[in-house]
Amino acid sequence: MTPRIFAYIAHKGGVADDSAAELLAAAKKIDAGASPAALVTGWGAELDSVCEILRGSYAEVWKVASESLAYPNAELVRKALVKVLPPGCIVLVPHNHFGIDLAPGLSIKLNAAFVSDVMGIDGIDGASLKVVRQEFGGQMSTHVRCDISTGAVVNVRPGAFKAVDGVPAGGAVVDKSSDVGALTAGRRYLEIIAAEAGDVDITKEPVLVSIGRGIQEKDNVAIAQELADAMGAAVSCSRPVVDAKWLPKSRQVGSSGQTVRPKIYLACGMSGSFQHLAGLKGNPFIVAINKNPKAPIFQVADVGIVADILEFLPELTTKIREMKKVSV
């Protein structure tokens, strides 16, 4: 008998996060016949609105309302969930800044197993859940067996499970707020400091020339900027470029940077780490240019070119400029 599956749903402004559908898909991979319950914490009208939305896809929506949970402080959320969750269940959480914060501690308090950053699920085999993970920055994949006899908390990689078209579930909202009581924790939320707005808002750009470690040095960033100028595009980048201080944080695409939805995305000298790709949404046309033919980005891109970006980009720039001269 497979354990009960719960999906922790994040939300903002009364709208459920995209992960809601992904976790549902992941739950179906664990057990095709399961009817997982959505688990939502929060407060007030926003929480109610989210629960209403989730009813459309989840058979049950467990609502946990508490004023102290108005801001999702993982330390408080954990205490609430421990009071609400039945023993031996499986809890799915997105593997993001919140899931990393919540899940490991939650697994200890529930005395359940914990598996992080799962990108594939093979299913249940006896008392084990078999999943697929990656190690070494994505260079190697691994099959992992997790003992779920006392339950499990599973962090699910965002974007790894595509939402499935399902029958509208018409689920019921179950209010579990009263089980929670007063919540305190040794960590208290203060505020959010917004990232400095840069000169360019890459989230609004339809075409992005994006650079990674392959750009090699600060002076070469100009090569990408010239191409962007010729194309009427903007320059974005991955984390290593920001860590090296060659571009400001506002240009970073990724799970800890911006989420972008361009029509065309040129990934130049980027390996294609999942943290970076997590920031790329909306099914853009991805062109990957990289010296290494084995770079993982080529798996994700639509079109691939094996070339040295330091040589290729200037050539491309020249061609586009010529083209524009002719057409004008």
Binding site: E217, K218, D219, A244
Partner: protein, 705 residues
Amino acid sequence: MSATILSPAQATYWFVQGQALFLVIHVLGLLCFAYIVTKRLTPLLKAERDNRFDRPLIRLGRLLQFWFGQWKHPRYRTAGIIHILLFTGFIVLAIHTFTLLGLGTAGGSITASTSGVGHVYGLITNYAATVVFLCMTFAATRRLVFKPARYAVPVRYGKAHTADAIFLLALIAILMFAESVFEASKTALLAQQSHAVETLAAFSLPWVLNRAIVAASPLTIWNLYLISYLLQALTFYFLLCYRPFGIQFHVETSLFGVYFAKLDRGTVKPVRWGVSDEQLDQVKSFGVKKFEDFTWKHMLDFYSCADCGRCSDQCPANAVGRPLSPRFISIKARDYSFQHYPMFGTSGNGQPLIGGIYSEDEIWSCTTCGACEEECPLLIEYIDKMVDLRRGMVDDGNVPKSLQKPLKALESRGNPYGKMEKKRAEWAKEKEFQSTCAVKVLDSESSANTLFFVDSITSYDDRMQSIARATARVLTNAGENFGILGSAEKDSGHEVRRFGEEMLFMALREQNVQAIKESGVTRIVTADPHAYNALKHDYKDVPPVEHISQVIARGVKSGRLKLNPVANGDNVYAYHDPCYLGRHNQIFDDPRYVLDAIPGLKRVEMSRCRNRSFCCGGGGLMLFYEPQEEQRMGVKRVQMAAETGANVIVTACPFCMVNVEDAIKVSGMEGKMTAIDLTELVDQHLVRENPPAEDLGNLPSHANA
């Protein structure tokens, strides 16, 4: 009957007898000077030791050449000539000045000297004083009107030094003038007693002054005689005591500075003189962190800086707007020592230099090209100071982020790229190459008498690997029995040492020396001047090392290597002297000989060539450092080549190649300028016994450039 007059000693100055007055002046002046010099010596006594007392004969020879012979001065012609005249004037005047001073206390009267050595000498001194005086006026005019750029003081270093310079020039001029007035009035007084006897050199300053005053009353002349004497004595002692407070201290210190100057080019001083490599673990602190960590010779260097600005004028980092100006490394340190070791009061010391008078970027900006040292007429050393300052920063963990990664890679993988050891010899396995040129990896099964030391960039960089292949082919054609160390070779560590990571350098050196010894080779050849310099000067107990250009030159001379006519007769080639081949190791002619041996090759010389070559930007770890600069050094160098009408730059160093090719791209000169390594060019033009199906396709196609 010869005329006599009273000497100043015998005269009366305002109720005081001259002799007493001048005795007091002498004693006070000398005591003052002695006190000042003692105070100036104080920090030197606290300084680190320095090994400068060896090879006295060589040092004396250099003293003659550089100090007495003013050897480096003519490199800047106008200033050089002025200084040579000035210096010669001072030397000539030396005896005269002392005898003149002695007149103040000596007993006897003065007589005219009309013949003999003394008279001739006197005439010469007249001209000498004139020349010095004219030099002073010319120098002052030059400072005020023509304002040579190298004297300017950038805003960040404070106010201009012009006022002080003019003050000193004026003082010397006054001294010359006072002496001349004295001579003029002395002659005039003697002439009054007997018939006029010419004792002054015609048209010299004293002569002119004499003509001007000869008509004045005897009392006026007598007063001029006394006053000018007093003035010259006071001026002399004022100058003597003032000199140690500024750049003029070089007058005294230069003798010692030049004698004790560094004899061994290309080397870097040990972390501590007198502490062997094995004992280094016990040293508490590496490098220079505070002023007292400098050696006494380096402190002497700070005193000796004449603020001429020649070093900074030649410094490539300064030229591209990096925050480094060698002149101010010296001036700032000198000012620091003046401030912290004052004439009166206790010295406040022990403050860190980095973050104080020096910034980190200032010290990391240096490519160790040696242009500053090559230029300095006082033989002041800079590279050792930079290395010591870097050692201090490394010791404190203060290493720029951009350098930490390659240093870590050097530690774990023996090369700054972090690439795997087993791939170090992959360049030799390139398919087309391997079929035509077999390269032995020296191990328990293979041996050879010559080692081709490839070093990291030539081994791992896609572009530079063609230099390795070209070198291997050239060596094969020259009939050399050679091999490579392969994965046993580690980075030579040349820049690791010069960037202050001495212990990592020693670890790399130890591994290389071990591998070299085990290979049993008796000779080393390399195409990398940095590796060449390291193996020659930083490594001990290794076989003698040559640069490939020397091997090629010898091969061409002996006829072993024959060269075809130049592939493209329209190309104009400019040879760029790599710093570590040219300036540091004096190998200028062999590469040129080789180029000129290619029939029909048109070669031009850049104005900054040979030991005035302009650094390409630096090698080794410098390729990883991200400097603050307005322009790349390579771009300036490429422009210099273009100015001579060249369209091909020939280098003999893989780092020069990286920087030059990069600069060609960055400055948009692709299509107008190409770069090729000397070995690649030779390889292209070699007459081969069995011409192989070459990978000429992999070499840059300069035939069509």
